[in-house]
């Protein structure tokens, strides 16, 4: 066997994922060399505290606090520190030095991706970030490469395992949000401060990355409309279940064409009702999945573990081996093809269907008045269902009305809901949720 070339790998960060990446680089060194055509030598691990306790036992001499020096000497740099700085500066420095970079830093990519992509292009090196979206699931590479001869029209993703676990718990046990969150925290699926997950911020960063790759246009976090799941109630879930629907927090990116033929992309994160037969409805627990509609390919779905040290490490290593293979072959590298310029649409311009739950007075003519009000706002009703409840003690009857609309603009739907609230026959609007896949 001929002597293999050695490529130096610098690892920045040694948390949950980083520790597993280091372990695999050491344990599977021979298999990785066979896959790559080069030995991937872990030259060091930059951390804040070299003596911190780790999940995995790793050689102490690998640890250093001097990330700058480690990066300067590396052929391949893996950034798993998270956060904006010093990750951003270190990645830029690595790219300028001609190193290929693998990162899982969704926050940085969503905030300042364009700067990083441009620097990689300029240096002629690869910047890859499969681990940034949907953990172990190979989704970015298929979008970029396998679907490069097709036109993606819509992406619907369950890209946050914490919120999927919480919603799935609420769906299967009838629990309220707070109890399901507490259970997720107890099992380690949610952090002590769950804000980034339950408010949808984590999913929004991933939505920006998915939209950028799917529509060849750079979308930033500020282009993403974001609603979390904190206001989803057990009653919402029960009503959805009753209607054959399930609530998922979806990251959505879809191309829309307005009446004048102008194209735009709506990028948004919000709780969404899906029919129970939809492939995404079967994604349970903390699993992730991304559902793609493309002009030629039709419907595709990619399913797997969205988080966890070892699964996410698999995605990091896939990127690392691919980058190393290109280095071994030689020749120039390329990262991105964001040549498009499709404008990002505001949420008001998105078109979607609404599910609206209403507590209404049980009087003749109520349905007609509500239906007329929808018609006046240009919103077409797909289904309308009334259920009468009688309070056993007071013997007072109340009526529950559930409306699913056809697709209409968010602006028209929002105006309709506002107008409905003003009707004297409405006791309360019990839920307003968007619907996809019907």
């Amino acid at each position: 066997m001929t002597e293999l070339r050695t490529l130096k790998v610098a690892l920045l960060g040694c948390g949950n994922v980083g520790a597993q990446v280091a372990r695999i680089l050491i344990e599977d060194a021979d298999a990785l060399a066979a896959r790559t055509g080069a030995r991937l030598q872990l030259s060091g691990i930059a951390v804040r505290n070299v003596n911190a306790k780790r999940d995995v036992e790793l050689p102490q001499e690998l640890f250093t606090t001097d990330a700058e020096t480690l990066v300067k000497d590396a052929d391949l740099v893996i950034e798993l520190m998270g956060g904006i700085e010093p990750a951003r500066t270190l990645i830029l420095s690595a790219l300028r030095n001609g190193a290929c970079v693998v990162t899982g830093n969704k926050a940085l990519l969503a905030q300042d991706g364009p700067t990083l992509y441009e620097e990689a292009d300029k240096a002629g090196v690869q910047l890859s970030y499969e681990a940034a979206v949907a953990g172990a699931i190979p989704i970015l590479r298929p979008i970029r490469d396998s679907l490069s001869g097709d036109r993606i029209t819509r992406v619907l993703g369950i890209v946050n395992g914490t919120t999927n676990f919480i919603l799935d718990q609420m769906d299967s046990t009838g629990a309220q949000f707070a109890d399901a969150l507490a259970e997720a925290q107890r099992l380690g699926y949610a952090e002590a401060d769950p804000t980034a997950d339950v408010e949808g911020h984590d999913a929004a960063a991933k939505a920006a990355i998915l939209a950028t790759l799917s529509f060849h246009t750079r979308f930033a976090l500020e282009n993403v409309h974001c609603e979390g799941i904190t206001s989803v109630t057990a009653a919402d879930i029960a009503a959805a279940k009753d209607a054959g629907l399930v609530i998922k927090l979806l990251a959505i990116a879809e191309k829309l064409t307005d009446a004048d033929g102008g194209e735009g992309v709506s990028v948004r994160v919000h709780p969404t009702l899906l029919p129970r037969e939809h492939p995404l409805a079967a994604v349970r627990g903390a699993f992730n999945a991304v559902f793609i509609e493309a002009e030629n390919a039709g419907e595709l779905m990619f399913y797997g573990q969205g988080a966890g040290g070892t699964p996410t490490a698999s995605a990091v290593l896939g990127d690392l081996v691919s980058a190393a293979r290109r280095l071994v072959l030689g020749g120039p590298q390329r990262t991105e093809t964001t040549t498009g310029h499709v404008p990002a649409l505001p949420i008001a311009a998105a078109t979607t269907s609404y599910y609206i739950g209403l507590d209404v007075a049980d009087q003749p003519g109520v349905l007609a008045r509500i239906a007329q009000l929808f018609a006046e706002h240009g919103v077409s009703i797909e289904t309308m269902r009334q259920t009468i409840h009688r309070d056993a003690e007071s013997n007072v009857e109340s009526a529950e009305l559930r409306i699913v609309t056809h697709r209409a603009s968010e602006a028209a739907l929002a105006a309709t809901v506002e107008a409905v609230k003003g009707l004297d026959v409405i006791n309360s609007v019990t839920s307003v949720l968007r619907v996809e896949g019907v």
Copy 2:
């Protein structure tokens, strides 16, 4: 805008998929140029009869019967003729001329892949074949690239839409095989001669390709144990349903370790029972899906359309754009990394679970005798369920016994079934099916 380089694309074959590939190359020329960095110019389409009627209207001057000349002048060759010759000779000629080749020819790859891979490596050009397995679903590239830093342990694939449609029909309507096949033929999901699909040959070719990429070792069709679905009865389906299971034709490739630590890969195609909660169980109609288990990534599933002109054309174009991008960037190409040498195991060495349906005499002690016989053969029983039927007219009672075993070797299971047949208390063995995912 600078003048883009032009790459000449030769298309061999203009059937269902070829015609759509030609259409997209012409209609989407600008978008493909933007994705690729080069204009992809369709230089000609080689067919047997230039005047044949096509699904898609294409410029008549593109057609030629002289495939050899067309190939000589091309930068990129798309082979969609199918069959072994002249496809094999034309692909080898294209590779030797330094053209990158995209093919969907699973039969040729399964029979003579190694010759083609070696020629591509020697010539330093790419040979890609995403369309050969599971149509539009990006599955080969993710296995080769995204999972290159991981170890795949098992692949379970629904890779034949015809048989999935037939089994799904049988499951949802209770139809017998022959009626479901006739329905599939009526709807265009099955061909007039359905042998290649229903006998599992098509799935076996795909299993060989999946196994080769997943285990970095070249497996040929002769390494694949193949059983079709022609003997699956409505009664099998009903019994499965009753037990919370569903029957799918699976292409399976899994790494097994024997008692002495020796490794081997079992590659096989056969009707398989799956729990209804398994992600593959939800794959309905003619859809395809590939479920992968990897050491680090855990469980992954890829879902989409497995056939059809336009979806399959999407996969062909993804390969074409990727190959063209590499040509534009320059530098050497590489196709395969089949550096491993894991032996293919015979079916007798595979380990699996069995579902066994028995029509038994309703006598005391029968269950004990059967259980003892399993124990003697070293096969452990997971569940055993007895149902008593009474014939209304004759008033004769009969008992139906359903056994699911733990994983054991095929050899031990086959021997057990043979021995069971010899017991005097057994009226008949009503079904023997393998089970996965329990």
